[in-house]
Symmetry: C2
Subunit: 263 residues, 2 copies
């Protein structure tokens, strides 16, 4: 039987609020199983970028990572945000290690090819090259990886990579040796049947249910890629995907008391 591994992704909104982050990290530190935390960037990169005169550029909601911006996110995501999480987890009794995908070559990637849009130093993960050796080395010695949303191209360049994508790529790679459950923590209580109503959480989405919900056009368009990615991860070996609120106790999400289970 494979050991259980939880991979948990937190986004910007939790990171930006000190109290929320501290509560979340307490609940993360208390989890007894093997675990990995993947964090997004938060608004702090934009704020520091503004102070440094680096303008955030977006096309269709995706950040364009020019030379200045990759340095900025390397500092802020890989340094400030990552290490602040690590010291807090250490203080809460979790032996955290803060890493990017460049460290120990954890997440090999390639620069996104320029087609209509030049995304700059954005990285697409080379999932076929993602090995589990260094990951399991750390996990099996009770060291908990905390991953910043950065990868590298193996040619000396750091690449900016979406944290959701990192979480799901790691989950798929590690499902070869662990029973992996992937948890996306975000600002809502789960997948909502009515986006206006926080109490309309759908507790279980199967493929059949998903087809039905889509046919009835009940789901908020923004959630569809998350669910599509969740099913792709499940098809590739991940046991379950859970979507819940970063302010809920993680234990309530893993126990399926709150949030949405995709299976």
């Amino acid at each position: 039987m494979k050991e259980n591994l939880y991979i948990i992704k937190i986004g910007g909104n939790v990171i930006d609020e000190e109290n929320k982050l501290s509560l979340f990290l307490s609940s993360f530190a208390a989890m007894q199983s093997l675990k990995i935390l993947v964090h997004g960037g938060g608004k702090i990169a934009t704020k520091i970028g503004d102070q440094l005169g680096i303008k955030s550029k977006y096309i269709d909601g995706r950040r364009i990572t020019d030379d200045e911006t990759i340095d900025l996110v390397t500092m802020v995501y890989g340094g400030l945000v990552n290490k602040k999480i690590v010291v807090q987890l250490q203080a809460k009794g979790c032996n955290a290690i803060g890493l990017t995908g460049a460290d120990a070559n954890l997440i090999p990637a390639k620069k996104r090819p320029v087609k209509e849009i030049d995304y700059g130093w954005a990285g697409d993960i080379l999932t076929e090259n993602l090995e589990f050796g260094a990951w399991s080395l750390l996990l099996e010695h009770n060291i908990t990886p905390v991953i910043a949303p950065l990868t590298h191209d193996g040619m000396g360049n750091i690449l900016n990579t979406n944290a959701d994508t990192i979480a799901s790529a790691i989950a798929v790679a590690l499902s070869k040796i662990y029973d992996v459950r992937l948890i996306y923590c975000f600002e809502k209580k789960g997948v909502l049947e009515n986006v206006e109503d926080e109490n309309s959480v759908i507790h279980l989405i199967t493929k059949e249910k998903y087809q039905q919900l889509k046919a009835e056009k009940k789901l908020f368009a923004g959630i569809l890629p998350k669910i599509d990615n969740a099913f792709a991860a499940i098809d590739a070996g991940v046991k379950e995907v859970l979507i819940g609120n970063a302010e809920d106790l993680l234990q309530n999400i893993t126990d399926k008391i709150s949030g949405t289970l995709i299976r």
Copy 2:
């Protein structure tokens, strides 16, 4: 017989110059033995601090680390400088992992007590608590630690810690299980008998020779603490300390063709 381990410290002047850094990293990557790289900060923190309106404050040549400054050095040392070294080493075939002393609790420290001067978030290493478990786990799996000059207090705070001190504390702790050689790379060719003459490198300094050089007042005052620390490390179990130029091939320093050997 214990395995050989080299611990190499590079300072700011190499880090600030892209070409010099790249050459140094090539020579570091080429070393076949177990190795750890400890890096200083470079002038980039001051430059970015100026842009952010954070003034560098010094008392007696020591940086005062206030709240803004600890965030700044966490970003710059722990993020920008550290990860740029890691990606380059990865590209040169060295499986580097970039860490601070907070990660995996590698370097426990305590905030320096306030006496006449309040150094702020400056950390003194708790050498008696520095364990070799996580270090040897990485080294024995051919993963090369690259250490930023940051530690933590175990209570959720990052601390700014001198890179020379980190290198020597790690060297002493790891000398229990490895034959450790500590190399300080700096801007001169070694310990000079005449500070004006780069060709006056003293190739070997023993304790007797050191007493004699001090009696003759031949040494530049600035080098004395480095040599005192070197002998302290040797008395605590480190095999040899080498002081050489970051622009020399590391192999020439380890082969004792260039630089100063302290033993």
